[in-house]
């Protein structure tokens, strides 16, 4: 612990400012990359419509035929926007979950929140069971939200009880995944042929249910949730220093947790309701963001959203070009990206996160 006289205070302050500038730069670069992939996303697809024509369709509709316009307006654009929004939503949910549960393996998918949400959604889609008097568009997301919130409350209860360590919570999450997947399978078993085909494709996670009204609902949820997340950024950064310490710094940790779990449920449930269970975005996005920017949540949260949006867009492009002529469910692609990362996280030494 020898004093290194070479490091001056001025040097430290300028290093700190450099670090902040670097973070803003990284954020901008990920944002820019996401935009580029978004452009690639709206220019790829089974129908041969390159970027130039898509561009023309957006700003000079008269230059294209009616079917071409329909493809752009009802398929390309909503799918690509849905990829961006779902990626950002799941990744933000994952980042908050990892902090709140103090668990690097936490994400809506790995701990069963997505499975719970898909059970709720399946209830509405197949059996029409939901809260009475809801508009039809909201039935599926509200059902998904109720089940997702119940599952995060269970997780949080377990995370706080002294019996379960970090591993215990992960194992419990896996149990939730199995339980809700079995329940969804049960619903599939009794479902009609038509509902079944819809459900199967959706449970793999696919963007083909993206409509403008679904997009509007997800965008609305994110517009409401994100400011609250950002307002809690300081508190979440302090929570990373330890729960006792955070409380001694005046943070009502119980309230912070509860509010965050509400946000996580809303984000995960709305995403799952519209695109099915998308694996690993909520795990991989925050980890990449953390590696690049550290855990100051003022940067970590937006960076997680941008990284999630980026990966999801890449997966969406991949789902269209990996097997020529076939549109793969995007959830399969995200799992192919996510599983190796998940394994690396499990296998590496616990000290080095």
């Amino acid at each position: 612990m020898a004093m290194d006289q070479a490091i001056t205070r001025e040097g430290t302050i300028s290093a700190y400012h450099r670090m902040t500038r670097r973070r803003v730069l990284i954020l901008s670069v990920i944002g820019l990359l996401s935009l580029l992939v978004f452009a690639a996303d709206i220019s790829t697809g089974p129908s041969n419509l390159p970027l130039a024509q898509v561009w023309a369709g957006l700003f000079d509709p008269a230059s294209l035929t009616m079917p071409q316009l329909t493809i752009i307006r009802e398929v390309r654009l909503p799918y690509a926007l849905m990829a961006i929004l779902v990626g950002a939503a799941l990744s933000l949910a994952g980042a908050e979950m990892q902090t709140i549960l103090n668990n690097p393996l936490a994400s809506p998918f790995t701990l069963g929140v997505s499975s719970a949400a898909s059970f709720g959604a399946a209830l509405a889609i197949v059996l029409g069971i939901s809260v009475p008097f809801l508009p039809t568009d909201w039935m599926v997301p509200i059902n998904a939200f109720i089940c997702a919130f119940a599952s995060v409350l269970l997780l949080e209860f377990l995370a706080r009880s002294r019996a379960a360590g970090v591993e215990g919570v992960v194992l419990f999450g896996i149990a939730l995944v199995f339980t809700f997947n079995a329940l969804v399978a049960l619903i599939q078993f009794v479902a009609s042929q038509e509902a079944l085909s819809q459900l199967v494709f959706w449970s793999m996670g696919a963007l083909n249910r993206a409509t403008w009204s679904n997009l509007g609902i997800l965008a609305l949820v994110m517009l409401v949730v994100t400011p609250f997340s950002m307002r809690a950024a300081h508190a979440m950064t302090a929570l990373r220093l330890g729960e006792d310490r955070a409380r001694s710094f005046g943070i009502d940790v119980a309230r912070l947790r509860f509010a965050s779990l509400l946000r996580i449920s809303a984000l995960a449930a709305t995403s799952v309701a519209f695109v099915g269970t998308i694996g690993f975005i909520g795990l991989v996005g925050p980890h990449i963001a953390r590696l690049m920017l550290g855990e100051d949540h003022r940067f970590l949260l937006p960076a997680s959203m941008l990284t999630g949006a980026f990966i999801m867009s890449v997966a969406s492009v991949g789902s269209k070009i990996l097997v020529p002529g076939v549109l793969l469910p995007v959830g399969i692609v995200t799992s192919m990206i996510g599983v190796p990362v998940f394994l690396v996280l499990i296998l590496r030494k616990p000290e080095r996160v």
């Binding site: 205070r9 700190y16 950064t237 006792d244 001694s248 590696l291």
Partner: protein, 266 residues
Amino acid sequence: MTKMLSHGDALRIEGLTTGYGGHVVVDALTLAPMLPGQVVSLLGPNAAGKTTLLRALAGLHHASGAVRLGEADLLSLPLADHARHVTYMPQSLPQRVALTVLEAVIGALKASPIAGEPLSGHAITERALDVIERVGIGHLAMEGLNHLSGGQRQLASLAQALVRQPRVLLLDEPISALDLHYQLRVMKLVRALARESGMIVVMVLHDLSIAARWSDRIVLLSQGRLVTDGPPAEAITAQALADVYRVAARVRADADGLHIVIEDTL
């Protein structure tokens, strides 16, 4: 809710009872008022209730009785108001955190409003760096907490508590991971800060000699009850050590301070 505290406010603990889930750890403890600028060390064997007492003073778990800082009733203050006056440094250190020392100290300052005027971003950085330099890790300010040794992380943890400039500073074994040089450095710093600002420091220590050398007062606890309370030379006696720690000791006071030699277990 928050009352203004004048400089001369003492910390009064009267009939404090606290524990975990029905199990009483500290039982109806009353201590003489702790005066501004005083450094008070809590000593006692394992499970004496030292940490529990500190956590109750920090507002971290439920307690009955009275804890007053001047006129303010600390036990009834909401956490955010409590945190304006009192800061607690837990024994456990942050694990696996991707923050630099400077970020962590700034984070401690920004977590909730502290007493006094709101600080500008520049002032926050300056104040954080002041504290980091005073605990002796100025050269590590931009280092990640993950890359520090246990002792360095303990110093960073102390800086997080000090930066809030509380009226009452509660330290749970603040020097347990430090080498000899930094043990003395921290004790000197804490005492100097108490003298400068009138801060009341209450800390849990294990090393009798260090506690005797740097504390104004020693509170010796055993099984949640007060054994002795007073200046080091009065509180640490051969008889008290025999009663509390079950050791045979020789204690001699002279102009250099208190000399404690532990000879054997009893």
